[in-house]
């Protein structure tokens, strides 16, 4: 039997092809003592097919809480007894958040709302917000506002939104255990529309929600099939009051195996550390991930929780000799 890392080297590193779902399962089952070797390979793959640059992004919640959906990991669902209260950011606060983000050297600013999909009020607020940001801040604007209609997709293109985030969240086979108010297929359809319209698609998910190793590999393979420009990888941060509030934190070894497996599944994609890295991997984890396939970070705070100080991440990138990807205006 050939060793899975040998196969990955020939297939992924040398040819730039993603690893199959079956082999991803093997990668995710590698023993702890082979993790350094695995991370090293994932890092080589990233350096070869993406380069040393790291994409830095800031995110902000335009509308927090009170979401009608029931994603079991989410503290912003209105269906659970979560302590998160519903609140909106106003336009000056939104512009200020974009400025804070730009100051770190970030090229991306993502506006997020806890909704099933945008209604007219939200579309208007986003339009106004984007105009105000574009007038004052030099940064690419991304949005994450739930499921879209084709008309809304077209509207975002026209507003100048260059990237849209909509996660698969979980493998197709596990999705019904995570969400009951909408389907995996509905999420998939929005992702396709976004991609077809020419916006960059940002699509990822969460791990550590009680899924099996096979389902973790399945999620990576399904994401690879969507060919997103960027994949944000979240580690479950069990939120009080949510159905997954009692889940154990994923072990840091499993988290690192997952990072590397995602890189081997998608050698060309921007792979971003999203939520939960501080909790799951601790301070050292950010470094290990950046040397194990990750080439993008969210700096500063998340939507409802706090991240590391942005400067710590920026300093780390300098120390690792990884330049921050600069703003490229695609006009």
């Amino acid at each position: 039997m050939t060793d899975v890392l040998q196969v990955a080297r020939a297939h992924v590193l040398e040819q730039g092809l993603g690893l199959s779902e079956e082999l991803l399962v093997e990668v995710l089952r590698l023993p702890d003592e082979r993790i350094p070797e695995l991370l090293e390979l994932a890092h080589e793959v990233r350096m070869t097919w993406c380069g040393p640059e790291v994409e830095v992004e800031g995110i902000v919640s335009l509308k927090t809480g009170g979401c009608p959906e029931d994603c079991h990991f989410c503290s912003q669902s209105g269906q659970f007894q979560s302590p998160v209260r519903a609140v909106w950011l106003n336009i000056p606060e939104l512009v200020e958040a974009a400025k804070e983000t730009a100051k770190t050297g970030a090229s991306e600013f993502c506006i997020v709302a806890a909704v099933r999909g945008p209604d007219q009020r939200l579309m208007d607020q986003v339009r106004e917000g984007i105009k105000a940001i574009q007038a004052e801040v030099d940064i690419n604007i991304a949005c994450s506002l739930g499921m879209l209609t084709q008309a809304q997709v077209d509207e975002f293109v026209e507003m100048g939104v260059h990237r849209y985030n909509h996660n698969l969240e979980a493998a197709k086979s596990y999705f019904p255990q995570v969400v009951s108010t909408h389907s995996y297929e509905e999420r998939w359809d929005t992702c396709l529309m976004v991609r077809e319209a020419g916006m960059e698609l940002c699509c990822g998910g969460l791990v550590g929600m009680g899924e099996s190793i096979e389902q973790r590999a399945e999620l990576a393979a399904q994401l690879a099939e969507l060919r997103p420009h960027e994949v944000p990888l979240n580690f479950l941060n069990p939120r009080p009051g949510t159905p997954f509030g009692g889940q154990e934190l994923m072990s840091s070894q499993d988290a690192l195996r997952t990072i590397a497996a995602f890189r081997l599944a998608m050698p060309h994609t921007i792979l971003r550390y999203a939520g939960g890295r501080e909790l799951t991997l601790g301070d050292l984890g950010t470094r290990e991930g950046l040397l194990g396939g990750v080439n993008a970070v969210i700096v500063g705070n998340y939507l409802t929780t706090l991240g590391r100080d942005a400067n710590e991440d920026i300093d780390l990138l300098a120390e690792l000799g990884m330049p921050i990807k600069e703003l490229q205006k695609t006009l």
Partner: protein, 59 residues
């Protein structure tokens, strides 16, 4: 301080060491004076919380 800002339970009711740890990674959700759920805004470089009764706090 009568209530835990993280879980909202009375400070004397139990040990809140874990809550204190978590409060380094998230803003408080409950007013420590009256236990009301507060309005919390998190932005990339900071956060602010407001209790309808006891006003603003930020970090």
């Amino acid at each position: 301080m009568a209530y835990c800002g993280h879980c909202g339970e009375a400070v004397d009711a139990r040990d809140h060491a874990r809550c204190a740890e978590l409060l380094r990674m998230e803003p408080p959700r409950f007013c420590t004076q009256c236990r009301r759920r507060m309005v919390v805004q998190v932005t990339p470089a900071g956060w602010s919380v407001r209790c309808v009764e006891h006003g603003d706090l930020s970090g």
